[in-house]
Structure formats: C-alpha cells, structure tokens
Amino acid sequence: MAKNPVPDHVPPEMVRDFSLFTSPGMSPTPNGDPHAAVACVHAGPPIFYSPLNTRDGRGTWVITRASDQRRVLQDTETFSSHRNIFASALGESWPMIPLELDPPSHGAFRSLLNPLLSPKRVSVLEPAVRERAIRLIDGIAASGTSCDVMKDFAFPFTVHIFLHLLGLPDDRIDTFVGWARDLLHGDDTKRPPAARTIVSFIDELAAARREDLVDDFMTFIVQAQVEGRRLTKQEVRGVGVLVFVAGLDTVAAAIGFDLAYLARNLKDQELLRSEPNRIVLAAEELLRAYPTVQLIRVATKDIDFEGAPIRKGDYVSCATMIANRDPTEFECPNTVDLAREDNRHATFGYGPHRCLGSHLARREIVIGLEEWLSRIPAFRIKNGTAPITSGGHVFGIENLILDWS
C-alpha cells in the first residue's frame, strides 16, 4: 500500500484535492487548457497542502501568490533547491548544476555559466537563430498549406539551436527529442532508461572533448575552472545533463502554446502580423500566460508560512503557472492581453536560480513568432484535429496541426 502522502503535521483542513499531475485537465487532453485548469486555486487560500503533486507521487505545499513565491525562491537559506531530481530517477545522488546547488556554492558555477547565455552573447547567436527559423518556415510554406507545428517547426527549431550551442550535428534531433519525451513525459518504465541514456551520452561527450578540444560548450565545461580548480567528472555531468534537459522541451512547448493561442484568436494574429513591432511585448504576455514548469524547493528548517506549519524536509511548490494567474499580481490574469505592460511574470523563476537560458529562450520565441507571422498567412487549427495538451512536470502540447488553405 502507498504511504500516506499527507504527513501528520499537516492540518487536514489545509489539504486540497489538487495536483499538477492528477487534477482534471492534467493528463493528455484534446483541446485542453491546463493553465486555466490550475488557475482555480486562486479561489482558495494562499498556501495549501497537495498530496501527489510531484512526478514520484510526493505531496507538496503549494504557494499560490506570486509575492509569496518570490519570497520562497529568493530565500535559498530556508528553501533549498538541492533535490537530485534527475539522479534519483537512477537511484543515484548528484545535483544538476547549477539548478540543484544552493548559494554560496551555486554562485561559482553560475558566474561560470552566465556569460555563455548572457544578453550580449544571445545577440551574437541571434542571426543563426533567425536563419534557422526562416529556413524551416520557408520549407513549410513551400510544401503546402498545413503542418504539424510541433514536429515540423517548434522542435526542429529549438533543438537545432541547442545542438548548435552544444556543438553537436543536428542529424540526431529525433533521437534527442525522443529521449527528452521519455524522460519528461514518459512513465516509470521509460524514465530510468532515458535518464541512463542521457547520462552516458553526456559522459561520452565530455570524454571526447577532453581528448579533442573543439570550440563548443562541452569543451568549455571540461576546461573551465571554479574556485581555482577544474570541474570534477560528476560536476561536468551535472552541468551537461541540466543543459541537455532544459534545452530540449520547454521552448518548443512555449512556441506551441503561443501559436495555438494565435490560431484560435485571429484578431490578435492579424494585429501582430500587421504590426510586428508589437511582438516583443506580446511574447512577454504569452510567456506569462503559458509557462511550463513547477519549481520545487525543500524546507531546510521548520517555518510557519502564512499560517502553514512547514516542517524541515517538506516540499514547497512554486508553480509558475499559478503565480502567473495570481489576481493580486496581474489584472484579469486569465485574459491574454498582448499589450499588457508591467509584466513581471514568474515564468523564468525568481531568485538566484532564475533560468539561465531565459535570454535565449525569449529571443527564440520572439524570432519564431516574427518569422512565422511574416511568412505564413492567417492560420487556424485544422478542422477535425485537436491539439493535445498536458500538465505535469513540464506542461506540454503535442500535434498542433495548423491550416492556412
């Protein structure tokens, strides 16, 4: 029998029937809207306990207000990011770096990696990103009046950029996407083998780059120094695995949700097509409306938080999709307003662990939308098809079939 997922110190009246994995709308749903489905928590208290709110079936406290999430994520002393999520799928224990390190050791790795994905660096990468988008979309436009955005554009576009960054040829896109899918959306039989495959891939890549230096990310990592020393093999693996996992899925999902929104809202689509200079601001709003991840922290000590008795070791969930629909932070949070200003959304997290790839992700989304809208005429979701959306560890969308005939 499963262990009782509600610990004794949690007052029963603070438990809510809610989970990003099992609530209505979270399993794959045709024409679903998982973001709207989670927004219902704002009718309730600022914090509650949710059994079964992680992939491995653990309970978490759920923080529903953006300002409280900011407080949790900024306070790394009380709320640790050290969880070994990836390694634990293998029965091992090592952190993905820098995500699962806390300050102060987090800082050294963060300073090492920040310049690789800084706003300046991203502007250098931009022409290659744009060229890739144009090539893909021109190909799609030339071959018909319909396509599956996820398969034909979102994944090849984002995964190519990430392979390019890692210094890998892109003839293995399908393989990598398959690994990511098994890891992030697969069941208990698929996840551990996928994790193992990714680890050996990263280990082999690192070994190859130690032998033969080339001008790429992995070479940089194996040569890099933190605190005056080289990274250990396990640290190299921790960095490599994180970059691999983070780069494969999230931006593609965001582009999918964004184009699905525009396919259903022709006025907004037309507005952005006729006034492309609005896309940068609009992309920010789409990032707010359709974020993809739940951030989880572990309490390092007992603390009472907004009336909730959080105990050392408890999991605390800061779901970005919940913060971004907080009515005390955003006016009419469930309305997509492409002209929204002051858009301090939680999509890339708060605090020292702010998404390292946020500057690149943003540019990929903006460039993807710009090139798509300038090359593809008014598009809708193809009659008789329904995009399948899901909640869970990373919110996702599959099979977005668009039609512009």
Binding site: R70, N114, P115, S118, K120, E341, N343, Y350, G351, R354
Partner: protein
C-alpha cells in the same frame, strides 16, 4: 527622479535594460551594475517602466511618485 538599485536582489533578468538600455546598464553576465541611477528629465516614463518590469523588485523609485502611476 532617482532609482535605488538593490544589487543583492538583482538576478539578471535584464528586463529593465530591455526597456531602456541607456538607463539600466548591465555587466557582461547580464546583471545590473552597482550604484543608484539618476534619471534625467524626459526619461522618467521609460525609467519607471524599467523599474516596474523587474521581476525581483530589485529597483525602486526614490522621491516623487512618477506621474505615470
């Protein structure tokens, strides 16, 4: 108008600089440079947009409340 910069809170989102790169200067990693910022006349609106777009609330307007609300 003056902007108080709390560097300890800055996490390098670069949203301030996205609104006004000439007002909010970032280091090579994308974090805001130390030192409070004196905003010249005529730049108040842009500057306050930059302040309000900081997800960490690392920026604060000092003195008269901005006329833009």
């Amino acid at each position: 108008m003056r902007i108080i910069v709390q560097n300890a809170k800055c996490q390098g989102h670069a949203r301030c600089a996205a609104h006004a790169p000439h007002i909010f200067k970032l280091d090579d990693a994308g974090y805001i440079l130390p030192g409070n910022i004196q905003v010249v006349e005529g730049e108040e609106l842009t500057a306050s947009r930059g302040v309000r777009s900081c997800p960490e609330r690392a920026l604060e307007i000092d003195g008269e409340p901005s006329s833009t609300g």
